[in-house]
């Protein structure tokens, strides 16, 4: 009884400073097969919220409100993540949603946001499918999957000697299928001949057959859209089967320190792409700039950030900017404000097109002497591409 009276009294006595924080909720892969990349998002959300709160939080009208964060572990299970987003909205009453990692998760989870009319800003899914359904409440900070190989193919057409034949391999999930679809068109437009165009099962561990075909078809360039585990196996088996195309490029892995570490010297020569490099020219309201951000991240979490990390931070900043612009935490008003946000961040310029997706160029990168080197970002080569790659015996 006393407790109840105390509770009633506390309702009336709550000072303004105790105003409820604005809560962001997300379901992220903290365990399970995708945990390795999922951690970027958890760390990014926490780091961004910590920084923004330290700077006073969100300014809504004249009131500063803190951000609270609710992160659940979906164990790399899509069905669980859908249930958790329902729980976040229904039970935990979070105000806004941040995304999980990976397109297949975003595809499923964004339906919850859409149905509940609560905006979800996500930095983990790039598949064009996410934005082709006419959804109004999904916003994404990863550039379109269909253009992941855009800069690479453009660079290929400017190489001397120009690669004549291309092999395109892709895993059978939503993101990689989108990449392949876009890449196929780009290759046709560039007039490059595709000699192998093959889909493989996600989590495949043996690539000896595909590699043997690459060797037998004599593909000059190999483009692989897949997952880090597959690409690790692909490169290791390429070495042991002595398959060395003149150029090979991968959608994931190359920008991640963990990936390079696992392969050691064998990672050298692998190309890839990233929408983000930790450059001091990318200024940020809360972190100073991208270079400072990368350094602070490394000190705090003891591993290097890659574009997943920056993309995750950008989603939090986009929400904060939209809430401030809307001057309210009303989901509808914030959703409308999100369509108009446009600000510079450590990730680059954040603004969403009419489908809700960001537009950023992909920078082609290559691992040279154990380091990620930017190669081509449209127009001109930034650094020299190691091309054609030497046979394995001479590396």
């Amino acid at each position: 009884m006393y407790r109840f009276l105390f509770f009633i009294a506390s309702l009336f006595l709550t000072p303004a400073a105790w105003a409820q924080p604005v809560t962001f909720g997300a379901s992220v892969q903290l365990t399970g097969p995708v945990a390795n990349t999922g951690r970027y998002y958890k760390d990014a959300y926490e780091f961004a919220v910590e920084k923004i709160n330290a700077a006073g939080g969100i300014k809504i009208g004249s009131v500063h409100q803190k951000i609270a964060l609710k992160i659940l572990d979906n164990q790399s299970d899509v069905n669980l993540s859908v249930r958790q987003y329902v729980q976040l909205l229904a039970q935990d009453k979070v105000n806004f949603l941040l995304g999980p990692f990976a397109s297949n998760f975003v595809l499923a989870d964004s339906s919850i946001a859409e149905k509940s009319r609560v905006p979800m800003v996500q930095g983990g899914g790039a598949s064009d499918q996410i934005y082709s359904r006419g959804y109004q409440y999904i916003f994404g900070t990863l550039p379109a999957a269909s253009n992941y190989f855009g800069s690479t193919i453009e660079a290929m057409t400017k190489l001397n000697p120009r690669p004549q034949t291309v092999a395109l391999l892709y895993a059978d999930d939503s993101f990689d299928v989108s990449v392949a679809k876009g890449t196929r068109e780009l290759l046709n437009k560039a007039g490059l001949k595709t000699v192998i165009d093959e889909r493989y099962s996600t989590n495949a561990s043996d690539f000896s057959v595909l590699l043997s075909r690459i060797k037998s078809e004599n593909a000059d360039a190999v483009l692989v859209a897949g997952h880090e585990t597959e690409i690790l196996n692909f490169i290791r088996q390429a070495k042991s089967l002595d398959v060395s195309p003149k150029l090979y490029s991968f959608t994931v892995g190359v920008p991640s320190a963990d990936f390079r570490h696992a392969l050691g010297k064998d990672a050298n020569g692998a190309s890839g792409m990233t929408a983000w490099l930790p450059s001091a020219t990318l200024k940020d309201q809360w972190f100073g700039d991208a270079e400072k951000f990368a350094r602070a991240w490394k000190t705090k979490f003891a591993y290097e950030p890659d574009y997943h990390a920056a993309s995750g931070v950008a989603t939090v900043e986009a929400l904060v900017n939209a809430i401030q612009a809307a001057g309210s935490t009303d989901p509808q008003k914030v959703r409308d404000a999100l369509t108009k946000v446009s600000f510079d961040s450590l990730y680059g310029r954040v603004a969403f097109d009419d489908k809700g997706q960001i537009s950023l160029p992909q920078i082609m990168v290559q691992i040279q002497n154990d380091d990620v080197v930017p190669i081509y970002a449209g127009k001109d080569f930034i650094n020299k591409l190691q091309y054609p790659l030497a046979p394995w015996s001479k590396r």
Partner: protein, 287 residues
């Protein structure tokens, strides 16, 4: 033609590793009548033990294999003695559930301790190869293959010609009679499970030298081992080799002629076919 031979060679070498992975599972299944769903997790642990011996103590991966085997033997022995022996007389469903539970616990503990980082066992000579008549033969895979075959044959000899082996087979064939002749089921079971785990440990170390390691590699490896055990049967370790090689080649040919996405369709399709056509196993007994 060159392509076909290259694919056959790769499939054969892959099959050797498959066989070794399945060997421990088939042994435990045949003797204890437990389908050990944590088998893949034990392979994963073996890979980690080898990895840390290689990167921490700078031991050559192949020299580290006996240590990995010993560590996994101890783990397996303890799991059987401490957990599985308590339910060994229960229905098969219970042991399935318990080994599934052990799988989950081992996987998540591994992530907790070692993180989800990708790792590879990558000595300087990994990836070196020899080309003959246009066909590339990777040395490490050949070594893996030889070890796999060698261990299988050793296992066969152990079961056939040693007192311990006869005890194990006796316990599998007729427990009552075996007990009358002085076989202690508890220790035979623990020994068998330990041996199964030790084989998984070696398989894990070898897997790490040709593939990549993370806490979640176990599940698919258990499934693959299961298929091979069904193909090869549980009677004789030598049939397990045949089962492994058969699967390796079928998978490779499927990937070559039908498409890479159909690999698993082929291997699990074979499983279904065998269960329909010859439920007792293609090459030997499975129950």
């Amino acid at each position: 033609m060159e392509l076909l031979f290259q694919v056959l060679v790769s499939g054969l070498l892959l099959g050797g590793l498959y066989a070794l992975m399945a060997l421990g599972l088939a042994l435990v299944w045949g003797v204890l009548n437990i389908v050990n769903l944590s088998h893949g997790a034990l392979i994963m642990l073996g890979a980690y033990v080898t990895y840390f011996l290689v990167t921490g103590a700078y031991i050559d991966p192949f020299a580290a294999l006996p240590i990995a085997a010993a560590v996994l033997f101890a783990i397996g022995y303890l799991i059987q003695r401490g957990v599985l022996n308590l339910v060994i007389r229960g229905p098969m469903f219970n042991t399935l559930l318990i080994t599934f539970g052990i799988e989950v616990v081992l996987t998540y503990l591994t992530q907790l301790w070692f993180s989800a980082d990708f790792r590879t066992i990558n000595p300087g000579y990994a990836g070196s190869n020899y080309t003959v008549g246009g066909i590339t033969i990777p040395y490490v895979q050949v070594l893996v293959f030889v070890i796999a075959i060698g261990l299988t044959v050793a296992m066969w000899l152990l079961l056939l010609h040693t007192r311990t082996g006869r005890g194990i087979r006796a316990a599998a064939q007729n427990l009552v009679a075996a007990r009358l002749y002085g076989v202690s089921p508890k220790s035979v079971y623990a020994l068998t499970f330990g041996l199964g785990a030790a084989l998984a440990g070696v398989a894990g170390g070898l897997y790490g030298t040709v593939s990549q390691i993370n806490p979640y590699i176990g599940g698919p490896l258990t499934a693959k081992s299961f298929v091979i055990a069904i193909i090869g049967g549980l009677d004789n370790p030598l049939w397990v080799i045949v089962g492994g090689l058969f699967l390796g080649i079928i998978e490779s040919l499927t990937a070559l002629y039908i498409g890479s996405t159909y690999r698993d369709v082929a291997s699990f399709g074979i499983l279904v076919l065998i269960l329909i056509v010859r439920p007792s196993g293609l090459l030997g007994r499975t129950t």
